[in-house]
Symmetry: C2
Subunit: 465 residues, 2 copies
């Protein structure tokens, strides 16, 4: 499946046809944001932007798409329009890899409303998922400290979504992936040695290890739990490690994939060290996530490399990030979406987000949202609680939303996955630790400028029944 | 991203290179199965087979894949082999859409071990995910009874995995999707009318409805909760429905997307009926799943059409099906994978699965697994509990695993998604209700032939430490 402009929900095209007839020149501003942090955490890692921009630059309807739509009752004048459809809008966005927070624009689309609607589904689909997975990966990185982290999840991923999961894992802080296609396309490190089936096919574990080490001596990791980890697999691995030494090679590691990983890792380390194989690393896998790795670390399990699969690539337990795309301005006038739930009321107007910095350049723990026309603000109010506000005088700040696409052309520099991962790491270093803990993380403040809050409240009253 | 043979884990290629050098003619049998039913349910709907077969028939390495592998230390003789790599093996499988159960082969691959390993990741990736989603969809269908079910999940799906989610939803019993690309490629029904942004862009809800109904009068569904469901949206929808009647058209429905759906649906039905609009349907959406829909039904909410998104396409709360692919025979000799957990011990030998039928052709609640060479059996034993066994004398049966691919060529008839969905429905009708309930469903029995059990136990003892 190739992503074309038909990678969308049908209602976008239904609405588009109506706009095409009634207000073909309507100009819209939409905000992309989410309402609560994934995994009950304190932040998210914004991911997927480069993919979205690349797709947008080349987005069009295929001939087969138009034929399909013709059969679904779309009029020929509209189909003619779709034939030459391109995205010609502007996008201002947080930088990919940045640390982001709920209920403030992460990305803003300003375009003809037909174009802005048609791209909505693709944009949400790619940003929601990759942001979820990069955030999960980053939590796992937080637990694993300096250990090597490898994504091994493709077999349990949501079909071809696994391709993007592997990309997002690297941005969140993983070191490599088992996913060959993703490694190839995104220029990330690929790794992987053997499955249980390899040892089973030999029947003889020692012979299997020997053949493998002979043919693939570089980065060789032997899987030692097929029959019995300590009494069979580890002993055979030691034999082969010694034979490799004689051949001038070094065994990279042994992998544990079942049993009590803390106990087995400690025993394995001890036995390897006693055999003068202190350089042989211990790799562990099997249903790992940030909590299991944290526990293994706390127990002092001497694991050097963690392979993480299902829980990473499916973003368990959340499985989805509920990012939304809300109209905030149409033909220059502000728009709002009401809700019985006050925190679901959207913010009107084209806006800018200011990240407040302390004297050392660290994040102070507050983003201020203001009308775009206001410029930077020195005071912000809680979005709903009238008793809470905060002076921003004397603080430094960054304007978060920057031009990344202008009239359909990408204007931000293209960045590799490694560059984005490094940027993300540098941004996380500016976020104080208390926002990163798993239990009740400190809440990052999102405030509104006095003017934005006033204008929002006016619109709420106007539409209230 | 196009699926090529590099849509795999690197360890498959590492192992393949060793096989290429040490036993290039190794012939393997692998079983695909899962160990416990998704969603704590009583069954799963096997889905994804047609996609896998289609991919396998055309699977090869792209030039760019080979370049990538060259940089990763694979030898040139092996790369030359990969250049002409094709899958030439045999596959025997349950039919797509069939009701399947844990711990028995669902699909069996018999091929050169290099080919069998290279395809493993793609096969698991597509079958695990689609089986998960079709099963979720089927549970939602079970709750929704005869109501119309629409998949609206693409924006929250795992990137392009959403394409396959929409396909699987139909096989599990959904009626249509919002996903244009999936509808086009899989020839399934597409639907969708308007988002809140449409009404917001007008500001004036009545005018928005009027314009929409004028341009798109067929299958018109008006979204009525943008400002106030009963006091604004519904009143305006009634006005437009009356205007449509005058123009010789009929409003299809109104959609509720927030608030208490049971209360709002009842009020909406009452007010519509009082306005002589009994034909206008009620569509509901907003974080639905099988439990919410069951509750709405129990409360008597008069909802005709349910739109389901996130919980469907992400397979929440499971998010993954842990299907595995285990070597059961190599060069004619049986293979086993031990585990500290007895239920994770694999079944050796090439096998057949027999589904036991009662006198009325209904599923009796038992599948028997036997060695392929045995033929049908009239007695089965519990896989682990020596005190449990069952006579199958006098029962009818079906041989479940049938040839679908022979020497790399598809030999089963190609079936459309609709045909597969119909087949699945007919199979579910043969499964007694007690296996379908959500709470503690009846456990479908999986037994082994006496010979298979004996041979497995012999191999366990042989490898035990």
């Amino acid at each position: 499946m190739k992503i074309t402009a038909a990678y969308t929900d049908l209602y976008q095209l239904s609405m588009a046809q109506v706009y095409f007839k009634t207000k073909p020149d309507g100009r819209a501003v939409f905000d992309y944001y989410y309402r609560s942090n994934p995994f009950d955490g304190g932040y998210a890692i914004f991911t997927g932007l480069e993919n979205v921009l690349e797709i947008l630059e080349n987005l069009k309807f295929a001939e087969s798409d138009l034929n399909f739509l013709k059969q679904h009752g779309f009029e020929s004048a509209f189909l003619d329009y779709l034939k030459t459809f391109r995205f010609n809008g502007n996008i201002r966005s947080s930088r990919e890899g940045d640390v982001v927070f709920p209920n403030r624009p992460i990305l803003q689309v300003e375009a003809n409303i037909i174009e802005a609607q048609i791209i909505e589904t693709m944009l949400l689909n790619l940003l929601n998922f990759q942001t979820l997975i990069a955030t999960k990966a980053n939590r796992i990185r937080h637990s694993a400290k300096n250990a090597t982290l490898l994504d091994m999840g493709l077999r349990r991923a949501h079909a071809t979504g696994g391709y993007y999961a592997s990309r997002a894992a690297i941005i969140g802080g993983f070191d490599g992936t088992s996913n060959v296609k993703a490694a190839e396309d995104f220029n990330i490190s690929a790794s992987g040695t053997m499955a249980h089936s390899f040892i089973q096919s030999y029947g003889d574990e020692l012979q299997a290890f020997r053949d493998f080490a002979k043919v693939r001596p570089k980065n060789c990791v032997l899987l030692i739990d097929t029959y019995n980890t300590l009494r069979s697999g580890l002993q055979n691995a030691i034999t082969v490690a010694k034979e490799m030494e004689e051949a001038g090679e070094q065994l990279l590691g042994v992998r544990l994939d079942s049993g009590d990983l803390a106990y087995l890792a400690k025993q394995t380390r001890k036995i390897l060290d006693e055999a003068n194989l202190g350089y042989v690393k211990i790799v562990a896998s099997n249903q790992l996530d940030e909590y299991v790795i944290k526990s293994l670390k706390e127990q002092g399990a001497p694991i050097d490399i963690y392979g993480v699969g299902t829980n990473l690539v499916t973003g368990k337990p959340d499985a989805a990030l509920g990012g939304v795309y809300k109209l905030s301005e149409f033909n220059g006038t502000p728009r709002i979406k009401l809700s019985e739930n006050i925190i679901k009321v959207s913010l009107p107007y084209k806006k800018q987000v200011y990240r407040i910095l302390d004297k050392n350049g660290m994040f102070y723990g507050a983003d201020a949202v203001a009308m775009f026309t206001e410029g930077a603000v020195d005071y912000m109010e809680h979005p709903f609680d009238a008793t809470k506000n905060m002076s921003l005088k004397g603080f430094d700040y960054e304007a978060v939303l920057q031009d990344v696409m202008t009239e359909g052309k990408k204007v931000s520099p293209s960045r590799t996955v490694t560059e984005i991962a490094n940027y993300s790491k540098s941004r996380l270093e500016k976020l104080p630790e208390e926002y990163k803990r798993f239990q009740n993380p400190h809440i990052y403040k999102i405030g509104l400028s006095a003017q934005l809050k006033q204008e929002r409240d006016k619109l709420v009253l106007k539409h209230k029944f």
